[in-house]
Each structure stands twice: as structure tokens, then as C-alpha cells.
């Protein structure tokens, strides 16, 4: 039975060891229905491990996970609600694109055929060729079409757009938004921070198998630093020691100062100087991301 009000994805203390290597360490998360959830982290942080655990392709060393309230180990039931797109799509080279979609649709169960044809159209995908002659981007399109065409409750996407061109990337974002509006949940692991920034409601950051932050994008930006681009005549005072300043770096002819919390101490230091230019902005997701690693 599906818990109507519960989270789409829930993990509790999810842990995976590969021999001595701790790939994922006590991950506890909840992703709500209709949410587009960004999952960030450098290579080897445990993003793919998490998705493979959610799919029961690998078994947790400790902890548990649920999809739509169903234990992830109950594959026959949990996978009724799931679709998965890997970052590197390996398919049967001797099948054609449409044969592949036919096969994957049959195994999934229910396919919205009209929507499938629309997806093929929107991705400008030619399904009449053999898989072996498709480029990486085209193989990725097959996996995306196969994932969306069953209208699953949960989409687990592991860097799904790595091989797509900007136009197709936009198509993907439109589809993801429309799916979320219909109440489908999207779990998006990605390296493309612009994509996450454009698309995601909430973001989790992973470092060396540990969760370091989960927050909405707005919250992340508030929480975090403000950036001041400063140019003064004459010599710069030592800004590193000013309370609240966490980072100072050269920026053109001036400096870029990252400030956490109130900017008042910095402004006091700057006040007696002959400031030529002072610009301020909130950091992009990329800048936030880099500040974590």
C-alpha cells in the first residue's frame, strides 16, 4: 500500500561500504512529492551510490530506504513507481531505438504511447536506427524517453543530461518542470550547476559520503555569504582579519571579499579609504558549491 501523504523518497542512516571504502555514511533524507531535488557533490562523493541503493542494485551496509513508502528492497512493488536514467547509457547494440523503447516499455508495464511519441518528437530523436550507431547524446535520449513515457511517480536521474546539447537540455528542463507540476518527484544528481539552479526546489550537498547541507536554494543563498567587489586607491589594508570575512581574493584591479553575516565590520574598515568602486551580489550556486569543497 502506498502511503498517500508520505515522502516520495526517504532514507534513514543509509550507509554503504565497499571493502574499506566508505562510499556513503549515514544518509538521512526526505524528498517530498512533486519536488525537484538536486543532489550535488564532486566525483566519488556518493551520489551514484545513493541512487543505486535506492534502486536496490546494491544493498546497504546499514540503514534503509523507502520509495513512496515501500521499502526499496521490495523491487516488484517499489519499481512500479520508479524510473531511472544513468549517466552512461549502455544498451543492446543490435536493437533499434524503437525496439529498445518497446522492450523497456513492456517490462515497465504501462506506457503512455501518445506521450512517448511526443517525447520522441520533442527530443528530435530518430528511433529507426540501430543503437550501435547512436551517439552518446542519442543513447541518453532513449533512456530519458523510456523514463518519462511511463509517467512514474519518482524519477531517479544520475547526471542525465551529460551528453545533451543546450537545446535538448532546455527540453529536458521543460519536461522536468511539467512532471513536477503533475506531482511527479525528480531526484536529480548533476554536475551542471546552472541546471540545478534553474530547476531544483531544494538541494543536498554530499562530501566524501556525508551529507553536508540540505536546503532550499533561497535559503542556501541567504545563509551563505555576500560578495563584495572592492576597488580602492592606494594600498589595501589586511582584510583577512576583519570579523565576518571568510575569503579574500584578487579580482581584476581590485579584490573580491566573501563576507558571512553582517557586513558592518568590513564597511567600517573601508570607510576611511578612498573607495573607487563597491559592488555587491549574492553568490551563485557555483560559488556556494565551491565554498563547501
Amino acid at each position: 500500500m502506498v502511503d498517500a501523504a508520505g515522502a516520495a523518497i526517504r532514507t534513514e542512516g543509509l550507509t554503504k561500504h565497499f571493502g574499506d571504502v566508505v562510499a556513503l555514511d549515514g544518509l538521512s533524507l526526505e524528498v517530498q512529492r512533486g519536488e525537484i531535488f538536486g543532489f550535488l557533490g564532486p566525483n566519488g562523493a556518493g551520489k551514484s551510490t545513493t541512487i543505486r541503493l535506492l534502486l536496490d542494485l546494491i544493498h546497504p551496509t546499514a540503514g534503509s530506504a523507502w520509495i513512496m513508502g515501500i521499502p526499496s528492497s521490495d523491487v516488484a512493488r517499489a519499481h512500479q513507481h520508479v524510473a531511472y536514467v544513468p549517466g552512461d547509457v549502455a544498451l543492446w547494440p543490435q536493437l533499434t531505438g524503437s525496439e529498445t523503447l518497446e522492450l523497456l516499455g513492456n517490462i515497465s508495464g504501462s506506457v503512455d504511447a501518445a506521450f512517448r511519441d511526443e517525447l520522441i518528437e520533442r527530443f528530435q530523436f530518430d528511433p529507426g536506427k540501430r543503437v550501435r550507431s547512436y551517439s552518446k547524446g542519442n543513447r541518453q535520449k532513449i533512456a530519458l524517453v523510456a523514463a518519462f513515457m511511463t509517467r512514474p511517480d519518482v524519477l531517479l536521474l544520475d547526471e542525465p543530461t551529460a551528453g545533451l546539447d543546450p537545446l535538448m537540455e532546455a527540453t529536458f528542463q521543460d519536461l522536468a518542470r511539467a512532471a513536477a507540476e503533475r506531482g511527479q518527484t525528480i531526484f536529480l544528481s548533476s554536475h551542471i550547476l546552472d541546471e540545478v539552479e534553474d530547476l531544483c526546489h531544494r538541494v543536498a550537498m554530499l562530501r566524501e559520503g556525508k551529507l553536508v547541507e540540505v536546503a532550499t536554494l533561497e535559503k542556501l543563498k541567504e545563509l551563505d555569504t555576500t560578495i563584495f567587489d572592492v576597488e580602492v586607491d592606494g594600498t589595501y589594508p589586511a582584510l583577512d582579519a576583519v570579523p565576518g570575512v571568510i575569503q579574500v581574493e584578487p579580482n581584476g584591479s581590485g579584490v573580491r571579499v566573501h563576507v558571512k553575516g553582517s557586513p558592518a565590520p568590513l564597511l567600517q574598515v573601508l570607510a576611511p579609504l578612498s573607495v573607487q568602486q563597491l559592488r555587491t551580489h549574492t553568490p551563485s550556486l557555483e560559488e556556494i558549491f565551491l565554498s563547501y569543497y
Binding site: I58, L91, P93, E102, N106, G128
Partner: protein, 526 residues
């Protein structure tokens, strides 16, 4: 050229090692069995009478110098060793030249400093070297027992030479057709054609000249341990140079990943056998099963057509009485006895198929393709169960092909053995085949990397033990390890029900272990 040579050597060295090992053991087993079976000069000289038997002549060749150990090995096992090294050369060459391009890995190597032709040269150098190393192994194995170094050298050169010719021909095929499977099929067709030409040549004395046209038949011209016609050797060299030159010239005229005869334009979608994972596995496997069925069928047909001739020869000869007693046969039962012995060899071949078939499931996992299936509402149990069911059905089909083909060969030569005898003899091996299949499932669950290697190696070791164990008086428990030791000579003898059921039980238990272990372990790609 150095890095490419090193890469290709790494990719092939394990296969070469296995090949050398198998050939050395096989040669020694042949030599031992010769001494055991034909202990005196009279029996040995009588072997040459097989030159009058058309069926024997066509399959094994005309016996030359079969009163020597070396000559017997050439006649009895040479054709088989040529076929095996030929198949290896075809698979290895098509893998290095086509498989690497198909997978896209070739592009990583192709952007290096070496040209396409340079890479082709490196790949061929490695495969040629593998053939030569195998030849050296054969030389080492036969030189001492035969006491004829020149004959041993010519035999080894014939084996290695045939492998090199097949490699060069496959290299040429790799330029003409895209996709590894097709290139290997063209190479296999070349091998098959040259085998058929050799059969034509050996079918009558006035057609012997045809063997000049068949690389397979050049061994009959070399006549190692007999006339030792070293003058035939340049034929191998000239052919290899011509084929290699053509392959390199064509390689320069095509792009990476393309072929001169491309067929990608006429793709048609055939939505057959896509409705369920089991039907889909069947779609992926039927082509290969067909190839196995043709191979098993041809072999069984030839063996069946030999029953009468070999049986007559054995029955007429008093010197075999001791040997027949050793394997527990009456003179009247000689034909049925031959069927039983041949069924063991076919059982061995189908056991290898069983290991390969479960290995195909592992290949789906290794290539990460299975993840598209298992991330849908399909349990691991159902997926693996489908592959096991498919393996069992394919094994039954191959057994049926064997029985019918052997019977058909027998009917054409008027041998006194019926279809029921063939069926009974084949069924006798079923528990052994399923046992090795079960071992493959167990390995798939426990150590997936070794899904094929362990059961296939076990098949070879078990066969050798059952063969040389009694001859060399191994302790009973050593010989008893081999499942082949526990099959009786059906249809002459009765089934050994207890042993058969025990093997079936072990097969089921091993399958269950593999199933449990697969459900508990992680899915692991390459």
C-alpha cells in the same frame, strides 16, 4: 607501436595461456592413449587401413605414419587442434580489430600516434605471436615422446601456420564488414569452407590435388613424422603475407568504425520477442544457439557415420580385446559402446555451452545493460530464473540435435544402432551437463568474474581426469571427483541411477546457491 603491442598483449595473454595449456595437455593425452590402446606394432600398422574408410578419411584425414606416436597424434588430433586454434585466431583477431572499434574504445587508442594500419599491424603481430607460442607448446609436448624433432617442428608449424592464416583472413574480413560478430562469421565461413575443401580432397585419390586449395589440407601435405615435406611451409608464408597486405591496404582506405561494405542503411525494426525479459533473452541467444546446434550437429553426424567403420575395424582385430575388456565391453556391443563413448565427448561440448550460456547472463550484467531491466518492476529472481530456464531448454535442444544427427550419420552408413540408443546415450550425459551448468550459476552468484572460467576449466580437468585417471592408476577419490567417471556406457550398460540423481541434486543445490548469492550481492558492472 610499443603501447599498442602492450595493450593488445594484455587483452589476449590469458586466452593464449589457456590455449597453450590445453594443447599441451591434449597432445600428451593423445600420446598416452596411443601407447595404451595400440601397445604393439601390429595394431599400429593396422591403423593405416582406416585410409580405406571414406568417412574416416574425410573427417580425420588419410593416415600417414600412424605407426608412430607423432603420426598418430597428427592424424587423430591434428584436425581438431587446427580447428580450435583457427577459431581462437578468428575470435582474437576480430576482437582486437573490430570489437575495440565497436565499443568505441578504439577511438581512445586511435587518437594516439599510431595510424589505423599501424594498430592493425600491432594487433596481428600479437595474434600471430599467440599462434607461434601455441605451436612452440605443441612442439615441446610432442618432440620427446615422438623422438622426431623435425616431424614435431613441422606439426607445430602446421598448427601455428593455420592459426596465422585464419588470423590474417579475419583481419581482411574486419575491413570489409562492420561489427565484430559479422567479421567473425566471415572468418568462420572461411574456416568451414577450407575444412569442406579438405574433405572433398580426401574423399577420393583422384581428388587429392584439391587439398592444395585448402589451408586446412596443407597439414596433409606436410605429412609430419612421415615424409616431412618442409617444402609446403612457404605456402603458409606467402598466403599470410598476401592476406595481411590486403588487410592493411584496405584499412588505410576506410575510416575508424566504418567498413567497406556497410549495411547500416537498410535497418528495419522487428518488434519480435520483446514482450518479456525471458523472451528478450531468447531473442539475444537464438543466433548463437543456432551456431552451436550446427557445430554439434555436424560433429555428431560425422561421428555417427564413423561408427560402422570403426566398429568393424575394432571387432575384426584380436588385439583390441584387452582394450575392450578394460572399458568393459563385449565384442557384440562394440557399436553401442562407440555411441556411448562419443556421447561423452558431445556431453563435454554441451557442458561448455552450459557454462557459456550462464556467462551470457553475466555479460548482460557486466555491460550494465541489465540495469535497464532490474530498475523496472522485475526481480532478480525472475530475471536469473529466465536465463536458467533458457539454458536448460537450449541444452535439451542441443542434446536432441546430437541424438538425431548421430543417428542420421549412422543410418547413411548402415550402422546397427537405432535412434533410441542415441537418445539414451545422450540422456546419460544430461546430469553431467546440468551439473556444470549449476556450477556456472553458483559462480555467477558468488564470484561473477569467474562465471565461465571456473566451470569451463572444471569441464576440461574433469574430462582429463576421467581419461587418464584409470590409465595411470590414480587413487579412487581423485578419479571419483570427475563427473565423467560416474557415467556408465549407456546404451550398452544400464543407467547409474544413484550417481545420476546425485549429480542432478548437486546441480539443483548449486543453482540455489547461485540464486541466493546473486540476490544478496551487489549488481556489479565492468
Amino acid at each position: 607501436m610499443q603501447p599498442a603491442l602492450r595493450l593488445y598483449t594484455r587483452l589476449t595473454r590469458r586466452g593464449v595461456l589457456l590455449l597453450v595449456l590445453a594443447f599441451v595437455v591434449y597432445t600428451l593425452v593423445e600420446a598416452v592413449s596411443y601407447v595404451q590402446t595400440y601397445p604393439d606394432q601390429a595394431a599400429r600398422e593396422r591403423l593405416s587401413e582406416f585410409g580405406d574408410q571414406p568417412a574416416v578419411r574425410m573427417l580425420q584425414g588419410i593416415p600417414h605414419a600412424v605407426d608412430t606416436i607423432g603420426g598418430f597424434v597428427v592424424w587423430d588430433g591434428g584436425w581438431f587442434m587446427q580447428a580450435v586454434i583457427g577459431v581462437w585466431a578468428i575470435l582474437a583477431t576480430s576482437r582486437l580489430l573490430r570489437g575495440e572499434e565497436d565499443s568505441g574504445r578504439g577511438e581512445l587508442v586511435g587518437v594516439g600516434q599510431l595510424s589505423g594500419a599501424g594498430l592493425t599491424r600491432a594487433a596481428l603481430a600479437v595474434v600471430f605471436a599467440g599462434c607461434v607460442v601455441t605451436g612452440i607448446g605443441v612442439f615441446a609436448a610432442i618432440a620427446i615422446p615422438s623422438e622426431d624433432p623435425l616431424g614435431a617442428m613441422l606439426f607445430a608449424a602446421g598448427i601455428a601456420g593455420f592459426g596465422v592464416v585464419m588470423a590474417a583472413a579475419t583481419a581482411l574480413a574486419c575491413q570489409l564488414v562492420g561489427v565484430r560478430r559479422r567479421a567473425a562469421a566471415v572468418g568462420a565461413a572461411f574456416l568451414g569452407a577450407s575444412f569442406v575443401l579438405r574433405m572433398v580432397a580426401n574423399s577420393g585419390d583422384d581428388r587429392l590435388w584439391v587439398s592444395w586449395l585448402s589451408p586446412f589440407g596443407w597439414m596433409d601435405r606436410l605429412r609430419p613424422f612421415g615424409d616431412n615435406n618442409a617444402v609446403v611451409l612457404p605456402l603458409y608464408v606467402v598466403t599470410v603475407i598476401a592476406l595481411t597486405w590486403a588487410a592493411l591496404a584496405l584499412r588505410q582506405r576506410r575510416d575508424l568504425g566504418s567498413a567497406l561494405w556497410s549495411r547500416e542503411s537498410d535497418v528495419r525494426t522487428r518488434p519480435l520477442l520483446l514482450a518479456s525479459p525471458i523472451r528478450f533473452a531468447w531473442r539475444l541467444t537464438w543466433g548463437v544457439l543456432l551456431v552451436w546446434a550446427v557445430g554439434v550437429g555436424l560433429y555428431a553426424f560425422f561421428v555417427g557415420s564413423l561408427i560402422k567403420a570403426m566398429g568393424d575395424a575394432l571387432a575384426d582385430d584380436p588385439t583390441y580385446e584387452a582394450y575392450l575388456e578394460l572399458i568393459g565391453l563385449d565384442k557384440q556391443e562394440i557399436y553401442g559402446g562407440m555411441v556411448a563413448v562419443m556421447a561423452v565427448i558431445i556431453g563435454l561440448v554441451i557442458s561448455l555451452y552450459a557454462a557459456w550460456r550462464i556467462g551470457a547472463a553475466r555479460n548482460e550484467e557486466d555491460s550494465e545493460r541489465v540495469e535497464h531491466l532490474l530498475t523496472r518492476p522485475l526481480t532478480r529472481s525472475r530475471w536469473l530464473g529466465g536465463h536458467v530456464a533458457l539454458a536448460v531448454l537450449s541444452i535439451l535442444a542441443l542434446c536432441a540435435v546430437n541424438a538425431v544427427a548421430m543417428w542420421f550419420g549412422g543410418v547413411l552408413t548402415e550402422s546397427p544402432v537405432g535412434l533410441l540408443d542415441m537418445v539414451k546415450a545422450t540422456a546419460n550425459l544430461l546430469p553431467v551437463i546440468l551439473l556444470f551448468g549449476g556450477a556456472a550459476v553458483a559462480m555467477f552468484g558468488l564470484v561473477p568474474r569467474l562465471t565461465i572460467a571456473v566451470p569451463a576449466g572444471a569441464v576440461a580437468v574433469a574430462y582429463v581426469i576421467s581419461f587418464i585417471g584409470p590409465a595411470l592408476d590414480f587413487p579412487g577419490w581423485v578419479t571419483g571427483i570427475s563427473p565423467f567417471y560416474h557415467v556408465s556406457l549407456v546404451p550398452v550398460a544400464d543407467y547409474q541411477l544413484t550417481q545420476g540423481l546425485a549429480m542432478l541434486g548437486i546441480a539443483v543445490a548449486a543453482t540455489a546457491v547461485g540464486w541466493l548469492a546473486f540476490n544478496r550481492r551487489d549488481v556489479v558492472g565492468a
